[in-house]
Point group: C2
Chain length 112, copies 2
């Protein structure tokens, strides 16, 4: 997976990971990795700043806790975050359809 492919689509993935319940940052990264069979394996230097950005935007809300001696910041989706997630999904559908059309996407080279 090319590195820059994700640009502009990361927020939606993070919000989606938090939709089914609160998670801390590291768990979000693991959940995305597991859900995609390792195809989306984000570096922590990508995850944490993105979560901070989403929190600043009011789309997620975080709270500190300590589990097994390690401090954790657990995030939950806010109402605004839920609405944003719906928007991201709709935007993705439209974007993916447009690119698939324009690309004439065939996984295999034209066999003709």
């Amino acid at each position: 997976m090319r590195a820059e492919a994700l640009k502009g689509h990361l927020d939606g993935l993070l919000l989606a990971a938090l939709e089914e319940g609160p998670l801390h940052g590291y768990a979000v990264k693991e959940a995305l990795c597991a859900a995609t069979g390792g195809r989306i394996d984000l570096p922590t230097g990508t995850v944490y700043p993105a979560l901070h950005r989403l929190e600043r935007a009011g789309l997620i809300a975080g709270s500190w806790s300590v589990v097994a001696g390690r401090r954790r910041r657990t995030y939950r989706l806010t109402e605004a975050g839920g609405r944003a997630l719906s928007g991201e999904r709709a935007g993705w559908q439209e974007f993916a359809a447009a690119v698939t059309t324009a690309l004439g996407a065939r996984p295999w080279p034209t066999t003709s």
Copy 2:
């Protein structure tokens, strides 16, 4: 369509537009706009630098001509460009599948 959504996927679209035959820059922009029903309507300040980049990379080859008093730079896909297009398509398939899965969105209808 969010502006930054396209990041990292523009090259493939431009290459795809040139696959069926040489076009000049303005025609590439029009072709993409027409193919997607106006959903991908690139500003010229996006198209021309991108074409220059693809030409520098050897994926397309350009030549000047004059038609109706206006100078045109017509681009054709090189062999390397054809291979790159195949790679872009494969990469798009993988990326789109991963994002669709992680986003929990319905797979887009076609190609099932």
